[in-house]
Symmetry: C2
Subunit: 392 residues, 2 copies
Amino acid sequence: MKKKSKEIEKHKKHDESQSTKSMKRMEKEGPKEIADHIKKIAMDIVNDIEAGKNPRFETKLRGRGNVLFDEDLGIIKLGDKSSTRTFLNIAHARKFMQTMLIMAQTHEYLTHGKTASIREIYYELKHTVGKTGENTFEDQRESDAAIVDLEHSIDTIREKLNVHANPKGTLYGDITLIDRAHHNDTFNCLKLGRGGWSIMSRMEPNEIEIKSVNADYVLVIETSAMYERLVEEDFARKNKAILIGTGGQAARGTRRLIHRLNVEYKLPVYVFTDGDPYGWYIYSVIKQGSMALAAHSRLLACPDAKYIGMTIQDIKDYKLQNVTEKMKPMDLKRAKELMSYDWFQNKPWQEELKMAMEQKVRIEQQALANRSLEFVATEYLPTKIKNKIFLP
Amino acid sequence: MKKKSKEIEKHKKHDESQSTKSMKRMEKEGPKEIADHIKKIAMDIVNDIEAGKNPRFETKLRGRGNVLFDEDLGIIKLGDKSSTRTFLNIAHARKFMQTMLIMAQTHEYLTHGKTASIREIYYELKHTVGKTGENTFEDQRESDAAIVDLEHSIDTIREKLNVHANPKGTLYGDITLIDRAHHNDTFNCLKLGRGGWSIMSRMEPNEIEIKSVNADYVLVIETSAMYERLVEEDFARKNKAILIGTGGQAARGTRRLIHRLNVEYKLPVYVFTDGDPYGWYIYSVIKQGSMALAAHSRLLACPDAKYIGMTIQDIKDYKLQNVTEKMKPMDLKRAKELMSYDWFQNKPWQEELKMAMEQKVRIEQQALANRSLEFVATEYLPTKIKNKIFLP
């Protein structure tokens, strides 16, 4: 993706006031608004048919050609290019039919308060059409694509269509949640032993209400082992922190929760990953969003997140030379790629990535155990937070 | 692994009374007993050294040659063959040193109430020995192997050495736990919204106490999406069930919890997986244990677990022909392998596997959504449980 300053300029004007407004609108949209939106699209199609017109369905063009990095908002987003699908077009008819099925089904979920995984909706809708011998979907990729089309058409995320992927991620700390869609269960995530709360795949405000948070910041942790370490050290209590373990790349529900804690509660977000291309990428997805989900950054990204570690500088500062790992050619290639992204175009990150590539090293979170098990909780993190030693 | 009836006979005599006794002893062993055991081994080595003898360390022989299926207990276990390592042997010296480091460190954990992940202990102990230029460990495989040696030497699981792998798995239902090692947190897992409790990597009774369970059975579920489905349908409440989502192959902590609910609370355990080789294997590991962890079955396996589905028969019974998947050559190979295992040598499983191989189909849990989203919760599972339609 190249920098597209002119296009960004163009969009900026268009967006400046609108973006913030549309973000707020998107945030607040609940099942009723989304269902109404689906119905409106469907009615337009019905009207087309009744008027003898060729029914059409509009969605946004995805792919790199329509992806921009918005420097002001600090997020990756989609441009304005759209794509129109018409029913009376042999290349579009099948996809058109599939989109209609997904629209009808998600409308059904929203009006009946049901939710489904993307695998379930695929199986639910899969059948042979009449006596044609033709299946509605041949495999899940087809229904997934139709879901993506619909998300982009009505400018929302699949979670607000009551559809979701697998959950992953764990929450620990002094935060009280209410599950409004499930017996109004109310629970405090500091009181669940060391296991913590299993973050759901859908973390929409109309269902999961954040009743209260008593914390100074959110610490997002890449590895489950480091998450467990910090829980065992009672880090959350001692530092008034909310701990979120992502277990690798953050799932959408986890990203949504981080976003909400940042937006709704203005909590600073610090991201703690391995010091390697995979860890840096995890950070960048949490912060700016991803190219694949460019349209959803407004609900998932967290542009003022900071990177707390591991850094290549840490190796020297904390005498970890003995416990680094060598970068493989694949790592070096990936690091070079990251270096070219718009959102890594700042001095601290360019220096960090350059240092890593020159020294050909990577450093894991667990390497801090070489100092002592407690070191990360008693020294490393508190010192960095106190002195604001972050990468942007 | 071939059936070894004679060897089983031999072991049976030896084991009959001893096995149950040793299982109870193993269950109950807490940090103090394990630490004492480590110390005893260490003292023997010190005595050897002081007496001018060649220090020795005994562990059990692993690998298929020493793995048995105990039909009476219904678990995979290790035979009696042991292996001795001596320090004054150029092929053993390095491993001997590594085992001593692991022994000292886990003893330290146990006496100070610390725990560590297997990655942390690796990093913690990694250093260059004096001026030799020799590292204690070159990579984590070496420290992992030393941990396994120690587990087998003192006949326990790593969790009781306060060492653990990554956590995975989620718990939902009317079960109250107390984390005795963490502020005595007491919480009921029916009241945590739809997320549920994130199962820890270590679920030892001295730390995680099961205060009470109000349930008729435990339902273990392979996929996160199906787990979420059943939670959304309020299946646990309506059927007095404990739901455990494994998210694929069950992690050790999750297996330990299932084992404990079965042993401590005599709850029947029903396992619900995809009807394919991966699902069947997940079931067999939960039930009989695995060859790789043969020595640990006594603490991890659940020999009276039953398989509730998906079965190949379900395809016909529930008209799911339209939503099966084809078995790939790899699947067929794996199914054939499973068919030859001792613990699948019973009529119902032989028939099930034969049917799958003949029809070359597999069937996923989510395929039930083709009937309706609720179908699994309102029809499929209750009918099977009521009429005891299980595979053994």
